[in-house]
């Protein structure tokens, strides 16, 4: 892999503009279809073993590795039910709106100085914007389902996003201030010698907690609290459309793990002394470690109450994130 940082490897291999475009789209889509499956399977197995169970053991013979493939085949066979009172167009469009933003996020995630699809100057702004579009799909799903549980779930998801997008963006802003760039590759390259988790551990904690809430993962999964509102906005969905929502959830875990890796864990950068391991593997390992942490939290913590959730964000996370920005700004000015 010869080439300078910031030039995509795909642009070096192919010169035709359209060919490059197709190859990049194929690679991004391929990654998006594989990585969430791996995380989903890991969730099956890790959750099971944390509860002293085995999890899936039969599909694919070896430790049920093909469980999610079997699930996918099952989802395809299911009847596609649209409730009579539902708004059919919005109802059918919602899974796509929930899913596609997470695919788009991977366009700018760098796996090495050369392996990426696009090096946007406003990379971090782009990924954070894209990862919050998902909730519009959820809101569409809940509103169009003509079901009170769906509606409550969707509004909870929206309220949660508003509350937790703020600390997420504030934490990311501190990183941008320290790195001095919005480009994801630039931020990774700026973590030369030390990762930003060392300088901003509080920011890292805020970012991870806010990501969990934005993904509506436990302990912040009130929008799909099954004991209260069945399955929230997804209650009326069946078959492939439901599968798309699940894929969006796992795609979201991978996407936000990738963003957190880039911002705080040095992205594709190796630990000192372990530089012989290729850079894409480092990136994959960091995404895997953060995804494992997300699953670990699900196995450990019960769900918060809805009002506790809002209280935690507005009274704890946001003030701390604001203080962090001030501190980073002061240090930045003092150093320069």
């Amino acid at each position: 892999m010869i080439g300078q940082a910031g030039v995509s490897i795909f642009n070096e291999w192919f010169s035709n503009y359209w060919l490059v475009l197709v190859v990049k789209a194929g690679v991004v889509l391929g990654f998006f279809l594989v990585a969430p499956m791996v995380v989903g399977y890991a969730e099956h197995k890790v959750l099971a073993h944390m509860q002293s169970r085995l999890g899936p053991m039969y599909p694919g013979v070896f430790h049920g590795w093909a469980q999610l493939v079997a699930d996918g085949v099952k989802f395809i066979q299911k009847e596609d039910v649209i409730p009579r009172a539902a708004d059919p167009w919005v109802f059918s469009l919602a899974p796509a709106v929930a899913l596609i933003p997470y695919i788009v996020v991977f366009v700018v995630i760098p796996f090495s100085p050369q392996i990426f699809a696009l090096n946007l100057d406003v990379g971090i702004f782009f990924v954070l914007a894209m990862s919050s579009v998902n909730v519009i799909g959820v809101l569409m799903a809940g509103w169009s389902s003509a079901n009170k549980f769906s509606l409550i779930g969707a509004l909870r998801a929206a309220a949660q996003l508003i509350a937790y997008e703020l600390p997420l963006v504030l934490a990311a802003a501190s990183i941008v201030m320290q790195a001095g760039t919005l480009s994801l590759i630039g931020i990774t390259e700026a973590q030369d010698g030390y990762w930003f988790v060392l300088t901003q551990p509080v920011g890292f904690a805020i970012f991870v907690v806010a990501s969990l809430a934005e993904l509506t993962r436990p302990p912040f999964d009130m929008p799909v609290a099954d004991s209260e509102i069945i399955f929230g906005a997804y209650t009326e969905y069946t078959g492939l459309k439901f599968a798309f929502f699940l894929l969006a959830e796992y795609g979201g875990i991978v996407a936000l793990s990738a963003i957190a890796s880039v911002l705080y864990l040095g992205g594709y950068r190796a630990l000192p002394g372990l530089g012989f391991i290729p850079e894409p593997l480092w990136m994959a390992a960091k995404i895997g470690a953060l995804s494992f942490f997300v699953i670990w939290l699900r196995a450990t913590y019960p769900r918060l109450r809805e009002d506790q959730l809002q209280q935690f964000s507005w009274l704890a996370l946001i003030p701390v994130a604001l203080v962090q920005i001030i501190v980073v700004g002061l240090v930045k000015v003092a150093v320069s």
């Binding site: 890790v46 002293s52 085995l54 913590y301 009002d307």
Partner: protein, 173 residues
């Protein structure tokens, strides 16, 4: 919803610092992750059942006196008993005795709810719990098992548990 004073959870004087419980919880789940799972993969390996598992009810035909107690106590009438009377000549003098002879004893396991009342009520130890549990069939009709099959299951009945300390041999009722 307004947050009132009683809703705010105060930290108990448990000696745990703030957040220490969260860390402990993570430790518990991690410990279980690293431990081998307790699942027994049943069709592949036999489950490790407690010795006195209530799998099926077995009949020791020689002990049955056809008193019909079990079938009358059965809450869902799943026990079929048919018998006839024979007159046996006395072995040495005296008059001939009528004897009940068991023709049919069947339990419909499609109806049985495994309450065990028949086993409890049997006055002559003819009915036993056996840990055998693999007797599913493709047809619900075949779940009615006759006395020959019930007799076979008596060979899977474990021996009675040892007496408790201080108990007297043969004193039980």
């Amino acid at each position: 919803m307004a947050i009132e004073e009683k809703d705010v959870r105060r930290r108990k004087a448990s000696g745990l610092a703030v957040g220490q419980g969260l860390i402990k919880g993570l430790g518990v789940t991690l410990k279980h992750l690293l431990r081998p799972a307790v699942t027994q993969q049943y069709p592949k390996e036999k489950p490790d059942l407690p010795p006195r598992t209530r799998g099926v009810i077995a009949l020791k035909e020689a002990n049955c006196t056809v008193c019909w107690k079990c079938s009358r106590e059965c809450p869902d009438w799943c026990i079929y008993i048919e018998a006839h009377k024979e007159t046996h000549d006395p072995a040495s003098g005296g008059r001939a005795r009528p004897v009940k002879v068991l023709d049919r004893f069947a339990i419909d396991y499609a109806l049985c709810m495994y309450c065990g009342i028949c086993v409890e009520v049997c006055p002559f130890d003819a009915l036993f719990w056996s840990p055998e549990f693999e007797y599913t069939t493709f047809d619900i009709v075949e779940l009615t098992h006759e006395k020959e099959k019930l007799e076979e299951w008596t060979y899977t009945v474990p021996p009675p548990p040892p007496l408790e300390r201080g108990a007297q041999e043969g004193a039980g009722g």
